[in-house]
Symmetry: D2
Subunit: 357 residues, 4 copies
C-alpha cells in the first residue's frame, strides 16, 4: 500500500443524492487520502441537510458524518474542493463538468458526455493508466488548468477488465458481447419492479453502442495527442435481469492469430495490470480473479470480491466460432461506477497528475 | 383448423409425475384428437392414483380427469396406447423409449438420447416437417413398426424458430447465441432458490453443445437416408436467470452474402412455416410473432402468446460484426418441450405417418 | 348465467392509461353486457389515440379494439356513457367522480375518496349486495340521479371474502390481519425494483387503517339510511412482498362464542354468498375456494382461479389465542380492483339499480 | 471488548457441509477465542478434504484454512475438541449430540431436539443468560460432565429479541406473530426456486408451534431446577417469502396493563440486555437497533447490521386490538442460527461455565 499523503485532499460529490452519488459517499466517507468536504445536488436539494434531501437506498447505513452536511449547488462558486466526483445525469453533466474544469478543478466523471472526446481520458487504472497523459493535451487545447477524466459505462468496464490481458498478449480482432445487467445500473427509482421481477428486458437504451465504442477506446493506444482506438470489431447485446448488483458479461473473442483456451486462461491468471495502479487505497489485491468452478462467476456470490473492485472471470473455454469464450462479472456501482472514479482520482494523486489540485 | 378425426387416438404419458409430464397432462387433458388414456412413471409411483403419486407444481390446477388414474410402469406390456409421449429423464429414456418403439408404438420424446441419431427425426413441424420422412428409414433399419420422433432442447427450439425464415431466405453461415433460460427448464425440484434468486448462473450442463448441434440438424436437409446438417458455425453461451417460464435468446447472424436488417425483418414477418403444420390443434395462429416495441420480447409479457406455442422475435437490427442481430423468446415447457411433442404427434396423425398407431 | 340484456350498455373508463385502467380495458373489451365506448385520462393523454397515450404493462396484449380509440378528458361533458368505471388516483378522483354522479352517471370507483362516506355503498356482491340500497339514500341526499358505488381496497376485499361466511355464521368479534401484498397493488411505475427485489417492505402508506375500517363497513348491516359498522376489533399489519399479482392475508379470528376449526371450515366450504351475485358475467363458479393442501393458497399458483375472481382460502386451523386462523389469497387487480367494479356494475344492471343508466 | 483468553479453545463443527455448517465455518475461521480444529459430517463426506466434500453456497468465499481439513465422522471418538457446534439435522442430532455430551463435550446446538427439554437451556445471551445455570441441573441429572446448550429456531429468536425489553418492562400477556421468513432458513438445496420465485408459501412445517413454545421458554424464569415458562398466550403465522437472508416478524403485543407506543419505544431504545453478553467477540454494539424510518426494518437493507447479530425493530405503534404493534427483522443464519451458537459458546467461556471444556 502506498503511504498516505501528509494531508488529505478535500473532495466534493456532485449529484450526491442519487444512487451513484450515495455509493460515492459510502466509498469516500472514511477514505485515507480524501476528505469528503462538500456535497452538491440539484436546486431542489441545495440548502438542505443531506439526510433530509436524500432518499438513502443503499444496503449499508448512511455514514453519520454526512447526515448534517448542507447540500450545495452544482456550481464551482459554491464548491471549493479541488477534486470533484461527478455522479450527474448526462442531461446536466456536460455544462456542469465543464464549468468545474474551467474553474481549475479535476472532475472524475461517470457521465457519458465527454467519454468519447478525443482529449478526454477514459480510464481504468490497471488497463490504461497511461491514457491519463491526455490531460495535458486537454489542458492545452481547452485552456483550463483543471480537467475531466472519465470512467466508462459499467458494462464496458467489466468487459475491458477481462479483455485487457488477452488484448495485451494476443491482440483481439473480433468480439461478441452479451450482457446481463443488474437493476442498480439504472439508478433509483430506475426500473419499476413490475417490469423486471421474474423477467428479462433485452434492451438498455444506447447501451450497446456505448459498449462497442468504449471498449475500442479503452483498449486503444495513446499517441501524442489522442487515443488510437483498438481495431476490434464488436457486437454487443445488452440485457437487464433481476439481479441487484453485478453485471455478467458473456464474450466470444477472436484474436489476430489462433489462441487456445489454455493460453488465454494463463494470460488472465498472470495479469496484474499497470503497476501504477497497485497499492492505491481502492486497489483490490487482484483486479482480476479467475474462478475454476464450472458455474462461476455469479453476481450474488462474487460481486463482493475485493470490496467490489475485483472482476471475476470464469468459464474460459474454446469457442467453436472464434478462439475462446469466457464470462466476466463485477460490481456495477463500485468497479463499474463510483469505485472506478475514486480509483482514477487516487491514481491522479499518486502520479502527481491532479495538477493544481 | 383441420377437422377432428372420427375417433380419438389413445395416448400415454411416460414420466407423468415430473414437471414436463405435468405439462403434457395439462395439454392433453382436453385434446380434441387424443384421449389421455394412460399415465406411467417410475416404480415408486406405479400402482398409485396419480393425485397421490404426483407433487403437482403447475400454475393451473391438476385436471380432475387424471386425479384417479392409476399410474402404470414405463413398460410397453403395461401400456396399450399406440402413441406415447415421453417426459423421461435421459438416464432411463434410452431403454424405455426403444422398448416402446420395438413394441410398435410411436414415441414422441423430449429426451436427448436419440435426438442426434442419424435415423431419428428432430422435428419442429413449421420448420422441418419433411424430416419426419426419416421414420421410414428408421423403421426399415431398426426393424420395428413403431418409431421415435424427438423434439429438441428448449433453447434450441427458440433459436431455430427465429432462424428458420432467415436460413430459408438467405442461408446462415455463422451464428452467435446467448441464452437466458428460465428455471422451469431444469424441472422440479430443479434449481434451488438459494442458487438463483437475484442471481445469474452462467452455466447449464451440456447445454451449449446441444444448442450448437441441434440447430445444425434441425436446419439441415433431408436426403434419402439421413439429415445433412446445415453448415453453420455456431457459438452458444447458456445462462440461467430468475425467470419462471420463457427462454430468451440473443443472436448475431452472419449470412452467405450480406443481408440487411430490413430484409431480415421482412423474412421473419412473412414466414408462415410448412403448410402441413397449419391448422393442427396445437398450432398457434402465428408460429412466429414479430414485435415492433423496442424492448420486446420479454418472458413475462410474451410467454403466453399463442397459448405458449408462439415464439416472439424482436429487436431485429444491424450487427456491426455479423449481418443482423435479434432476440427470440418462447415458452420453454410448452413450445420448448411438451407442446412441441404434442404438435409433432398431431402432424404425424394428420399426415398419416403415425403408422400402426 | 343470467341472459344477456337485449342491448349492451355503453361504458367508459376514467384513468384508462394507468395499471388499473388497463385491467378494466382487458375485462371490458369483450364483455357480453357492456360496450367499452369511451376512454378518458389526464390532460396529458387526452386527444391522443389510446395506443400512443398508454405504456401498456399487462401480461396479455392490449385488445386491438382500443388501440385507435381517442382518449378523452375526465369530464362528463366529454363522456356520454351512462356507466363509468373510475381507476383514478385519489388525488383527482373526488372532484371528477362527483361531477359524473351529478351529471347522472353511475360511477363504479376504485378510489378511496368516497368509500367511507355514510351514503356510499362499499360493495362486494357476494357479501353485501343489499348495501347497494344506499344508492337511493345517496340520490335523495345529494340530489343527483347518478351515483357512486365503491369497491374496497384490494387487501380488504381478500379479507372480507374469507370472513363473510364466518361472520354470517358465528359473529366475529376480534380480528388480527397480516397481509403480504403484491407489487401490482401499487400501480405502475409503482415500487422501484431496487426497493423490493429479494426484499420485504413492512409498510404500505395508510393501508392498515383502510383495512381496519373497510372490513367493518363491508361486514356491517344496512339500516334505512346508513351502514351500521360491524363491531369487530381489528388489528392490521400490511407488508409488500416480491410477488407480481395476488395478495396473501393471514388472519386470526375470534368469535362471539367459541368456534372450532371444523365448524369454520364447514362454513367456508358451504358458503355461496348472496344469490343476486350468481350468474353474472364476471361471477366465478365459486367466489370462495377452499384448498385442502397444507401449503396453499399461494399467489403464483392460485391467483388465476375463477379468472382472478375466486379467493382461495386454506390452512383453516385452531388458534391458540383466538378461535381459528386461516389464510386467504386473491388477485388484487382483478377481484381486488377492476374486476370488483365490473362485478358491481353487473349487479346494478341485473337488479335494475343502475337508474337512468 | 473482553480480553482474549491466553489460549484459544479448540472447537469442532458437526454437520459442517450443510448451509448452517458453512455459516459456522465462516464465523469461526478467524475467531479470536476459538480455533476451528475439526469438521465433521455424514458418512458420505467423512474422510474427504472439506473442499471436496462441500458444495459451498455462501456469498463469501470459503475460508482457505478449511479447504484441506479432512472431514471426520460425527462421533466423539473421532473428535477431540471440548466445544462442539452442531448444525446437524434433527433426524440425527438427538443421538449424536447426546453422545458428545456424555463424552464430556459442551455441545452448542441449532437442532430442535433438546430445545424444550426441562434441563436444557434455550439461550440468547442478551435475554436470558441466567438460563445457562440449567447446565448444572442437566449435568447432575444426566450424569455427564459435558452438556447441551441450544439456541432457538431462527424466527423465535427475532421475536424474542424484540420482545425482551417489553416483557421485562411491562409483562406480555398475549401476542400475535406473523413471520415472513427467508429461503436460507430452509437450508440447501432447501426451497426449489419454482416454489418461491415471485411467490409466498404460507406454511413452514412445525414452525408455528416452535415459535409459540420457544418464546414462552426463552422469556421464562429460571427456578432451581427448571424454566418456568412465561404465561404468554401466543398465536403464530409462519410464511416463506422470496428473500435470501433475513426473517421479518410482525407482532401485536398485549401487556398485563395498558402500555402506549411511546413507552414501548422507549423500553426498546433503552434496552441493552444482560451485561454478561456485552463485549463478547460476536456481540454487536447494539443487540437491538431501533429504526425511525417509516418503512423499516427491511431484510435487504438491515440484515447486515452488527455483522448480522443486530436485530432491527421498527414501526412501534399503537394497536387497535392489543397495546402495541411493531416489526422486527434479523439475519436468520447468523443471529438466528450459527452466530447464536457462537455467542452462546463465548458466554459459556467468559463465565467459566464451559466446564471441563
Amino acid at each position: 500500500m502506498i503511504a498516505p499523503p501528509a494531508k488529505k485532499t478535500r473532495v466534493a460529490v456532485l449529484g450526491a443524492t442519487g444512487a451513484v452519488g450515495q455509493t460515492f459517499i459510502r466509498l469516500l466517507a472514511k477514505h485515507p487520502w480524501f476528505e469528503l468536504a462538500e456535497l452538491a445536488a440539484s436546486e431542489r436539494s441545495a440548502g438542505r441537510p443531506y439526510a433530509e434531501a436524500v432518499h438513502w437506498v443503499g444496503d449499508a447505513a448512511m455514514p453519520e458524518s454526512v447526515a448534517d452536511m448542507h447540500v450545495r449547488a452544482c456550481d464551482p462558486r459554491d464548491i471549493s474542493s479541488p477534486i470533484v466526483f461527478s455522479a450527474l445525469d448526462a442531461a446536466v453533466a456536460g455544462d456542469v463538468e465543464m464549468a468545474f474544469a474551467r474553474a481549475g478543478r479535476v472532475v472524475l466523471s461517470n457521465a457519458k458526455n465527454f467519454r468519447m472526446e478525443d482529449d478526454v481520458p477514459l480510464v481504468i487504472p490497471e488497463v490504461n493508466a497511461d491514457h491519463l497523459g491526455l490531460l495535458e493535451v486537454q489542458r492545452a487545447r481547452r485552456g483550463w488548468s483543471g480537467g475531466i477524466v472519465t470512467n466508462a459505462n459499467c458494462a464496458s468496464i467489466m468487459a475491458v477488465m477481462a479483455l485487457a490481458p488477452l488484448h495485451e498478449a494476443f491482440g483481439i480482432r473480433r468480439l461478441f458481447v452479451a450482457t446481463m445487467q443488474a437493476i442498480s445500473g439504472a439508478g433509483y427509482p430506475g426500473i419499476p419492479s413490475l417490469d423486471i421481477l421474474g423477467n428479462v428486458i433485452p434492451y438498455i437504451k444506447d447501451e450497446e453502442a456505448k459498449i462497442e465504442s468504449e471498449i475500442q477506446k479503452m483498449l486503444g493506444r495513446r499517441t501524442e495527442t489522442r487515443i488510437e482506438h483498438a481495431q476490434i470489431n464488436i457486437s454487443a447485446h445488452a440485457n437487464r435481469v433481476a439481479v441487484e448488483h453485478g453485471h455478467t458479461v458473456c464474450m466470444s473473442v477472436d484474436f489476430d492469430s489462433s489462441v487456445g483456451a489454455a493460453a488465454a486462461t494463463e494470460a488472465i491468471r498472470e495479469w496484474r495490470g499497470d503497476p501504477s495502479a497497485r497499492g492505491l487505497p481502492s486497489s483490490p489485491d487482484r483486479a482480476l480473479a479467475l474462478s475454476d468452478l464450472p458455474d462461476r462467476p455469479q453476481p450474488r456470490r462474487d460481486v463482493g470480491a475485493g470490496n467490489g473492485m475485483t472482476v471475476t472471470v470464469g468459464r474460459v473455454r474454446s469457442d467453436s466460432l472464434f478462439d475462446v469464450k469466457l464470462v466476466a462479472m463485477g460490481h456495477n456501482t463500485i468497479r463499474g461506477a463510483a469505485g472506478a472514479s475514486v480509483l482514477n482520482a487516487e491514481l491522479l494523486v499518486a502520479t502527481g497528475q491532479a495538477g493544481t489540485a
